[in-house]
């Protein structure tokens, strides 16, 4: 009983504080949506024109007991400038050795299931995977496909929340609501810095609106043409205590990749 009372009091106090806050800084719904969209668009467009990129990454999984496991992969991405169309990407697994050469080709869609093809070298066959599971975990990690395949602007509706400080930077706080029907999230809260307009941190809220995960993006580096990339991504699952870090090597941009490097046929020729 005692605890519950305390909770009620806390909730009441919180309500007063948030109410007070919203009175001080009144933002109309439409304005907030527009401003949120603008911030996201500025962030998304800041790397417009990278055309294509290639990078290696090491993924480290940690479970709640503290055990870890790593896998290495190679990403190739082809930018689609049209904001209504998703990017194309190719993921090739390099370690563990058992899965070396296994490759996943993905044509991201904005609001529908992605098109995916998988090549299993041991089977020497390409399989098209028909699945609506964008929100499923990516190879046992805490990243879902929808978290990191791309941050396409039109995947979300936006709402500007306010400004804050994060890690010594002034940031805009933007709430975003997935438009994809099968998304695993009801909302996300993204922090975008005001200097170079990059996403620094995202809180993910699950279908019951509980905080599920936090993604922190660190080690941003600027490449030619004002393109920024984070080289250390850490995703922590608050509910299970598991976490995943993705460490990227140096990016290569404009490597001459074409649409025909992202067709089913190339998968077999990877190794």
């Amino acid at each position: 009983m005692f605890k519950r009372n305390l909770q009620n009091k806390l909730a009441a106090a919180l309500a007063v504080v948030t109410l007070g806050f919203s009175l001080i800084a009144p933002v109309k719904a439409d304005e907030a949506a527009d401003k949120g969209y603008e911030i996201a668009a500025r962030s998304d467009r800041s790397d417009l024109g990278f055309t294509s990129s290639e990078v290696t990454a090491v993924m480290t999984l940690t479970n709640s007991a503290g055990n870890t496991s790593t896998r290495e992969m190679y990403f190739k991405t082809l930018e689609k400038e049209n904001e209504e169309v998703g990017d194309k990407s190719l993921t090739v697994f390099e370690t563990p050795r058992d899965v070396q050469g296994t490759a996943l080709l993905s044509h991201a869609k904005i609001l529908e299931a992605d098109d995916q093809w998988l090549y299993l070298p041991a089977l020497k066959r390409v399989k098209r995977i028909s699945s609506t599971n964008k929100s499923g975990p990516f190879v046992g990690s805490e990243f879902a496909f929808e978290d990191f395949t791309s941050t396409e602007l039109n995947k979300y509706d936006y709402k500007f929340i306010g400004e804050d400080e994060f890690d010594g930077m002034k940031v805009d706080v933007v709430e975003r609501f997935p438009r994809y029907e099968n998304s695993g999230y009801v909302r996300q809260i993204a922090l975008v810095d005001q200097e170079v307009f990059q996403v620094r941190k995202i809180d993910f809220y699950d279908r019951k609106n509980s905080l599920l995960k936090t993604l922190t993006l660190k080690d941003y580096r600027e490449y030619e043409g004002g393109v920024w990339r984070a080289h250390e991504l850490e995703m922590v699952n608050h509910q299970t205590g598991k976490s995943t870090t993705l460490s990227y090597g140096d990016y290569s941009f404009k490597t001459g990749l074409q649409d025909n490097d992202f067709v089913k046929g190339v998968l077999k020729r990877i190794r």
Binding site: F93, D98, K127, S130, N182
Partner: protein, 792 residues
């Protein structure tokens, strides 16, 4: 006043005089102390976690915690859906399941939902691999489609008998939760949500039954059973106590003061537990009932002596002082020994028994302190009528009983001795059974729902983390082959309803990748292929499902779950031994360390863990009490002899239980400790009076026995009746552990009185020796020597 006053007597008299002289101070100090300690009660929390029954150092708990750290936590809700008629593959029932599957994501702390509808059905269409929910949009499915879904579900090894009954009569939804464990209201909050969800669905889809089981419901049941006991039992206990006091002490003032004293003692016990930060289980919640029962004993002894003294013509003040003097030693020893008995519960492995023991010990000590301070202070204040000087009818009965016992001491000694030996020889027949569903009686929803659910599905999961050789080792063909053999072995064991194994997933994927040809439903024979299938499988899983639930992160071990039907502890042990045996004999070196684990495994061994340690604890307690008795009675020999009537009734009660009931939960481990102190109580009072009879009154043994009967016989009978009623009343608990404990303790107390009246005197005549009597051996021909005098 008798001519010979011991130092203890003098102290008691000084104390009584002080207390009566400063009664307002004493009353005020009592109230203040009670209020201060009771303040701690606000920190008390109800336990809603079965893990509270295991100490941190319990090896089965540690193994299971480690297992859960590697895979997924196994807190869950298990919804069993049964249509009133027909099978579950109707548009309506599947729509219910589909809706429940979606809505279950809204249950607070839910992490994962598994059902037939969101089962990831994989199939091949030429070079396409299609991964989809088995049932989507159930309402608009045609009869043909329903038949097809039914076919898939019932032939799928991951679903059959796990989430859908083989005969299609029932279907289930499993929701896995992970509680942050920071707030005691997490479980009730989730349960409340789940219950509302069920009520809504039942309204929307009439003609169905939905049963809720799973670990979360079990945890809730612990809390609800405890609450139910508190709400119904404690008020009734106080009512019963009032009645008993009115009958025995026959004084309104005495009853009132006793009532206050007991309430204060309970409050102090619970308040102290609050400061200690205890999570209350139904077991710990029986402490107030036990304190109440025991505290009455102290009060009854003092009030009855007071009444008798007033009857004999003393003033109220003198009678009070005399009552404190005569009972001070006995009440102190019994309180001390009872507290020691309860503290011995700390030797067990189960924290709820530590709490029960410590709360009761604090309460008992508080009750004792109040019985020699607060009680006389209050009594001196309140009006007490001197009872009429009636003929001592009751004493006549006890005098006759004493004569009888002394006359037939030989027959009684051997007769009761033989009776005890027969019962004791039955003790090894007791079978331990700790099936957690059966901890609760049918008035608890969890018990009813689990009884209904077990008609269709298994109930007790046993987990194995099957170890492979090094990172990625689960893909090794040799490993998968062994895993498959192990899976087949488990499926053949009796009481196993379902086995969830990676091999079934591997076989299915292999078939899918070969255009669904039935001949490819077999394990891949290439490590790289298996590893790539696993990667494919990982990539195809939807939100909330992940491979980590089945394979550890570096893929060096995989989880196999065997689900058992409602199985006794003994049968579970047979199963566990068989599984361990298979591993020892058949598993390769790297797989040898694979062990079974789960809540069921923890409960299977909980009896052994507790019984062994509590037996050790009790032996220590009996010896400690024996030493206390040696000092108190100033006789090493009597102290040593006292261990016989102290230990015997408990063992005999176990024997009687073995013959009458047979099975028992691990709560019996507590019975010895709980009853020990009470059993000792009888012996102490009897022996204290016996020794007083010899040393103070100068009787011979037979005379001293008669003196003891006359002075404490009535009080012992009254006490035993109160205690037996109190403990037998625990049998009405909704929690079987309390019920068993109550009944067994009542049995032990009854035997204790029997032994003290019929066996102890015979033992004294034989064994108490010359040390105390200083007279010639009088065990023969005692009939002639009996002297009787009315008690003072």
């Amino acid at each position: 006043m008798p001519k010979t006053m011991t130092a203890m007597d003098e102290f008691a008299v000084r104390l009584a005089k002080f207390v009566i002289g400063h009664r307002w101070l004493v009353i005020f100090a009592t109230l203040l102390t009670t209020a201060a300690v009771t303040y701690g009660a606000q920190f008390l929390q109800m336990s809603n976690n079965y893990r509270d029954f295991f100490s941190e150092s319990n090896p089965e708990l540690q193994a299971f915690e480690e297992f859960q750290g590697t895979y997924t936590k196994n807190d869950n809700f298990f919804f069993t859906i049964v249509p009133e008629e027909g099978d579950v593959f109707t548009a309506e029932t599947l729509a219910l399941v589909e809706e429940l599957t979606t809505e279950a994501w809204q249950i607070p702390f839910s992490l994962r939902v598994d059902s037939v509808t969101n089962f990831q059905h994989t199939w091949a269409d030429e070079d396409d691999l299609i991964v989809e929910d088995l049932v989507k949009g159930a309402e608009s499915l045609t009869a043909e489609e329903l038949a097809e879904k039914s076919q898939v579900a019932i032939t799928e090894p991951l679903l059959r008998d796990q989430l859908v009954a083989r005969d299609g009569r029932a279907i289930a939804v499993n929701v896995v939760l992970q509680y942050p464990q920071v707030d005691p209201f997490e479980v009730p909050q989730a349960v409340e949500y789940a219950r509302t969800l069920r009520a809504d669905l039942l309204q929307k889809y009439p003609g169905h039954k939905i049963y809720m089981t799973g670990v979360s419901m079990l945890n809730m049941a612990f809390q609800e059973a405890g609450m139910k006991d508190v709400m119904t039992m404690i008020p009734l206990m106080y009512g019963l106590l009032l009645l008993l006091m009115a009958v025995t002490v026959r004084s309104i003032a005495g009853t009132l003061v006793t009532l206050l004293m007991i309430a204060f003692a309970s409050m102090i016990g619970m308040g102290a537990a609050g400061f200690y930060g205890v999570a209350l289980t139904p077991i710990a919640l029986s402490a107030p009932t036990i304190i109440l029962t025991l505290a009455i004993a102290d009060a009854v002894h003092i009030l009855i002596t007071m009444r008798n003294s007033m009857k004999a013509g003393m003033t109220k003040r003198d009678a009070l002082i005399e009552a404190v003097r005569v009972n001070f030693l006995a009440v102190m020893i019994t309180s001390l020994t009872t507290a020691i008995g309860f503290l011995a519960l700390n030797f067990g492995d189960a924290p709820p028994f530590w709490h029960l023991g410590n709360i009761s010990a604090v309460g008992i000590v508080a009750a004792w302190a109040m019985s020699v301070t607060f009680l006389p202070a209050m009594m001196s204040l309140l009006p007490v009528r001197a009872p009429k000087l009636a003929a001592a009818n009751e004493n006549n009965f006890f005098a006759r009983l004493a004569d009888f016992v002394v006359a037939h001491n030989k027959k009684l000694f051997y007769g009761i001795g033989a009776f005890a030996i027969v019962l004791i020889s039955a003790v090894p027949q007791i079978e331990f059974n700790d099936q957690w569903t059966e901890y609760f009686d049918e008035s608890i929803e969890f018990r009813r729902d689990s009884d209904a659910s077990t008609e269709y599905f298994g109930f007790y999961p046993i987990e194995f983390s099957v170890l492979a050789k090094g990172e990625g080792g689960v893909s090794e063909p040799e490993f998968l082959q062994k895993l498959d053999e192990f899976t087949q072995f488990l499926r053949q064991q009796p009481n196993v309803t379902h086995v969830y194994s990676l091999t079934d997933i591997m076989k299915r994927l292999n078939r899918n990748m070969h255009a669904d040809e039935a001949s490819w439903y077999k394990l891949p024979d290439d490590r790289e292929l298996s590893a790539q299938y696993l990667l494919l499988y990982e990539l195809s899983l939807p939100y909330g499902l992940d491979l980590n639930d089945r394979v550890n992160i570096d893929k060096s071990a995989t989880r196999v779950t065997a689900t058992l039907t409602n199985t006794s502890t003994l049968e579970t042990k047979v199963f566990l031994d068989a599984a361990r045996g298979w591993i020892t004999e058949n598993a390769p070196e790297y797989m040898q360390a694979t062990v079974p684990t789960s809540a069921q495994v923890m409960f299977t061994y909980v009896a052994e863990r507790n019984v062994e340690s509590m037996i050790a604890g009790n032996i220590i307690a009996i010896v400690a009490i024996g030493i206390v008795m040696m000092f108190a009675l100033k006789s090493a020999r009597l102290g040593a002899l006292s261990m016989v009537p102290n230990g015997l009734p408990i063992v005999v009660a176990f024997g009687a239980w073995a013959l009458m009931v047979g099975t028992v939960g691990f709560s019996v481990a507590a019975v010895a400790s709980v009853s020990l102190g009470i059993v000792v109580d009888d012996t102490v009072h009897f022996l204290a009076k016996y020794v007083r009879g010899i040393r103070e009154k100068g009787y011979d043994r037979a005379g001293a026995i008669k003196y003891a009967f006359e002075t404490v016989g009535m009080a012992l009978v009254v006490n035993t009746v109160i205690l037996v009623i109190g403990f037998a009343y625990l049998a009405t608990s909704h929690f079987k552990m309390n019920a068993d404990m109550g009944l067994l303790t009542a049995l032990a107390i009854t035997f204790a009185l029997l032994f003290d009246f019929l066996f102890l005197p015979a033992l004294m005549l034989r064994g108490s020796g010359k040390l105390i009597s200083g007279q010639k051996d009088d065990s023969e021909g005692v009939q002639q020597n009996v002297q009787t005098q009315p008690a003072e």
